[in-house]
Each structure stands twice: as C-alpha cells, then as structure tokens.
Symmetry: D2
Subunit: 191 residues, 4 copies
C-alpha cells in the first residue's frame, strides 16, 4: 500500500502568517497538520499543546506545524474574530487556516471532508514528498508521535543523501541542538 | 564525530530475566538503557514510567528496554532484596541488571563509571550496531525521546534494505500495529 | 475586621438556569462565585475544572456554585452565543451570569468592578449570611479552597444549632455521603 | 453515632523526631495520620505528596501530620535503614513511626490491625479531642480532605470559644497567612 498524496487545503483565510499557505509550498518538509476547533475541550487540553510542543522542539528541523480550524458545529460561536482572540490568548505561534465551509447543507468544512476526518482533534503527518503518512483522531501519545516524526525526518535525510550522492551531513536539529549525524557510520557499518 | 561503541555492561546479577544479559547479544536491536536507583524520586516519578511506556509502545519493534540499577548512595538501603520488591510493586517488566560495585573506595558502580553518567535517571540510546547515540541525564521529553527512537529504527530498516537488496518490507510495528512501510515509495520518489 | 456584605451581582443574562439569580436568594448557603472569561487559558485549564469539582463534591451540601462571565478584553470574541457553546462543550453544569458591561469607556464589567477583581480567574467565597469571606485571584490549591469551604460549612451548622437550640443534626453531606455529625460530642466533650 | 477515641499507636521506632510520639500528646491539635509503605506506588505517587502538601499548607495551624510505616508485605525489603533513606530522598519532613510487628504469624503490624486499615495508603483524621473522625483507604481528593480538615479546625476554634468565653480570636492560620476570624460576626449575625 503506497502512501497517497495528501489532499490540497481549501481555506477561506489564514491567521498567524502574512500570506495564505498551500501544502505544495511545503514540499521538502515534514508537515504536521493539526485540525481543531477552538471550543473542543480535547483540542484545547491536549491537541493544541502537543502541536505547540512539536513546533518548539523541532523549530530548527525541516518540519512545519500548521493548524486548521475545522468547525463542524456551533459555527456562529467560532467565527474568525473569536478564533483570532483564541490564538492570541493561547499563544499559538503557528499558521492557522480556516477550513472552507462545505456546500449548502453540509456542516462539515471542505478540507475536513477531503481528508475524511472523524472529528477533532485530528493530527496528520505528511512527508517531505507531500504524501499523507498518518492520520490520528483524538488524543495520542507523545512517544508515538515523536517516533513517527523521527522516522519521517530520517527518511528525508536518507533520500537527500541518495539524491545528491553527497557526504552524509548534519543530522536533524531538534530541541535547539544540532548534532553531527551518524550518516557516515550508518552507511559504512563498523566491521 | 562518529559514534563510538557503547561500553560493555558490568553487573553482579539480573532480575526479570532467566539469564544475564550482555550488550553484544542485542546487536540488531535498538537498545534503551535506563539507569536508575529505586529510591531516586525523579526515576520513580518520571524515568521508570517513561521506560515502561517505551517498552509497551515498541514491544513489537526491534527495540529492547533494559534497566540498570546504578546505586551510588544509600547502598545498604537498596540491596537486591529491596530492588526485587520494588520491581514487583512497580510492575517493571523489563530485565534489570545490578551494576557491579566500584573498586574499594569508589561509591560509583562500574558501568555507571564506564559510561560517565552524571547521576540518575540517565537514559541511553544504543543503535543496532551497538553504538552509543544518545545519553540524557534527568527528565526529558517523550516527543524528543520518541523522535530519536524513530530515527534509529528508520536507520536500521534502511541498512537492512541496503544490506539485503531486498524489496522494502513492513515498516516497524509500534503500538500494537504493524503497518506497511513507505520504503518503496521512499526509494522511488514521486516524479 | 468584620467581613462585609458581598456586593450584589449586576448581570444582563443568565445561562444554565431558568431564571436570573441574585445573591440575596442564596442566603443560607455558602456560595462559591467563579469569575472567568471563556478565552482565559488559566480559567479553562484550572479555574473552571476546580469549580466543577466543587459543584460535584458538594452537590448535597448547602453550597451553591455560580459562574460569572466577566469579559474585560476581546469583547467581540466572547459574546453570549460563544459562551453558550462553550458551556455546552465544557459540560459546565452550574448557572452562569453575564456580567453587565461597564459605563461608556470602561472595559471592566460592573460586577467585576464592584468586587475590585484583579483579573480572571477569580474565586470568591461568600458565607451563608451573604458576606464576602475570601477572594482569590489566579490558580489556587484544592486543599486550601477545600479547607475554607469546610470552615464556612461548619460555621453555618454551628449557627443553626445555636439559633434553634436543636439537638445537633447530621453533619454536611459531601461527596455523595451524608454522615452523622460530631455535633453532640463537640458540644459535650469527652471528659 | 458518636466518634470513638482513636486507638493508641504501637511503634518500635520513630524517624524525623527526637523522641517517640504518642497520640495522647497531640490532644488539642487536629492530627492527620498517614499510613504508608515505602514501596507502595500509590503512597509514593499520591498519599505521601498529599500529606506533604497538608503539612506545608497548615504548618501554622493547630494540626499535626504524622506518618506511620505499616509494612504488611516484603518485610525484608522495607527495613528501618531503607525507610530512613527513603524519607531523606523524598524530603518527608514530618515524624514517621514504624508500626510494631504483629504477633507471630500475623503479617499485619499492630497499629494497622488496631485501626482495621484495609491497606496503604490510608489517611486518618483525628480531632483535637483524640477521636477518629475519618479513615480513607486509597487515593482521595484534595478538596474533600481539605474540607474535612477545615471542619475539624473550625470545630476546635468553636470549642475554644465556648470553653473560655473569650472574645473570638484569630481564625486559623493557613498557607502562611493568619487572618482575623469571623467569630464575632458569626456569633452576632448582621441584622
């Protein structure tokens, strides 16, 4: 089963970014897409803090954290003005797109529908080639999410080496540290 | 800076395993070595539960979690009998070695000294080739630890592919799920 | 320093109650007034869950938990419609009044001003005689809040005994249990 | 049902105190007796930290926190030497008695038996007259424990007033603050 390209994002506005974002722009980076609603308790207590931790821990790595406000209930209560205040108060630093409303009669917004999300919070990992690699509904473990991010980052580095034939370079930088990678040794195992 | 082979373990006894363990036996697996003292509050509150979470989450992956009881203070209070009761009460499932006492006059046990650990808890990651890749003193983040485990597991899979020339196989199993890997696609990027 | 009567509440609407509430109606009960804003992170993470725990733990005791939505910033983002959705999503069970807007030019609503609150969350304890006994800004400890509630409930029971000359009756019911009080023994100490 | 006098403590040694303690010495104070085992996970994670919070929060109040090491399993693993190291490492500041072993063949120590404790952790509240007022097995809520402490402290103050006919004095000091009580007003309600 080969991973499929992640659907494009359909949004009406963006906050925390000077211009709208498109998934295609992020080719070459691992993307964590966090879909939430500002009045969803599980998002506020777990999902958003986890996305914030990822954004901070991997700020020097080729990884982008992007939020998506996928309102599918209480639409009047979660307009753009309320979302803007929410992002300010909760110190959410990453770009957040507002998912485009569904066609008449559909309370589910368009990107949420395209990804067949089951609800909020939903965390999606997209690899450096734009393919959807993981989609998780609900609360999930930092260890698990971390290991999947580590896997995608290691894959990306491996591809870079293969594509360039270059000497192995620095491993990824995380948590404010950049370390020499084990690429050389990895490819030339100890006898 | 090439990673160096991890020092051998010097122990006097093992619990939770029918026979003593040696690091060399674990070649081909990623190893998380958790050094602790049973009366170290940070170990009990954070380190050991984290090692338990790793053991459970990655139980189907080529990863071994091993404990090391590195007593460097209150030696009389943390003998083998007390440790045995501790492991039972805290439901620690993985093998635990008792670090060999240091030479006369040295309160630091031998493996702890060989690894130059700063205290407890200390978490050490050793790759599938037996090389020490990370050593962390104190409490650290699940996301960070997870990403480093994911990186080492991905490296190992990549090496396996290169060594065998085999078709890419299943990605690693984690959290009770085994998923088809992206190896093929990884090596044959989308145009 | 004698406790002073708590200021009356000035509100424009009430949610979670069929009719508006007034402090004077609650004479004879201990009142926990929890002032919050729906987009205040400390309120959502700490203050409101604590008020919910109090409401549940003391549901059989003569104690009323009342919320007050004291919006002093982002007014447009926290209107009645948004608050209604918030209370629904967070399963807030107790009555919540919307604090009346201040006079022109004052962003601080009227009850918040009358109580001289410093911000949100603020937790206020009012005794059975309608007197303000404690006002706490920010996060505070369950043990501390619990002991102050216990003190006010015990005072109330003591007054009841003095007023009626009645035989000591059941102690207060908490946590779903009603226990025989120690009133008799209290007033007739063991020799 | 009138509260009964709490059984006397039967111990073999005391730590964290220059001389052995007896319950009778503590008449005039509310006593929180925390029974634990040093290798009981629930005690270490919940019971002992809660007793420590009570000791700190009420350090200026007429309340004594006392520990009791009630070993009923793994006796060899939890001797006095191990306990001493445990109390040091976990920074337990209050006196801890070692419960006296039961008669031959009984693994349950004597005080544990006399109080009919079901296991550890067990938290017991004894009022200023030496009567057992509450006994709770397992983990319990800070709000609940706090309210019961507040009730016992308020009772004690009330009795003091009745006994002396004195003018109402300072309420109890908690959390490092001593506040003027509401005694006067309580006894002379506002018109």
């Amino acid at each position: 089963m080969t991973p499929e390209p992640a659907p494009a994002w359909q949004t009406t506005a963006w906050l925390n970014t000077p211009r709208p974002m498109e998934l295609a722009q992020l080719r070459g980076k691992v993307v964590l897409l966090h879909a939430f609603q500002m009045l969803c308790p599980g998002c506020v207590a777990h999902g958003i803090p986890q996305a914030q931790r990822v954004a901070k821990l991997f700020e020097d790595a080729p990884l982008a954290v992007v939020g998506l406000h996928t309102v599918f209930e209480h639409h009047a209560a979660m307009g753009a003005e309320s979302l803007r205040a929410f992002l300010h108060e909760y110190r959410v630093p990453f770009p957040v797109g507002i998912d485009a409303p569904g066609p008449a009669g559909d309370p589910i917004p368009r990107t949420m529908r395209a990804y067949a999300m089951q609800g909020t919070p939903t965390t999606i990992l997209i690899d450096a080639q734009g393919r959807r690699r993981r989609q998780m509904f609900g609360v999930h473990d930092d260890l698990l999410l971390g290991s999947e991010i580590g896997t995608l980052l290691a894959e990306m580095e491996q591809q870079r080496l293969e594509a360039t034939g270059a000497a192995p370079a620095a491993g990824h930088c995380i948590d404010g540290r950049c370390e020499v990678g084990a690429g050389a040794a990895t490819r030339n195992p100890l006898p």
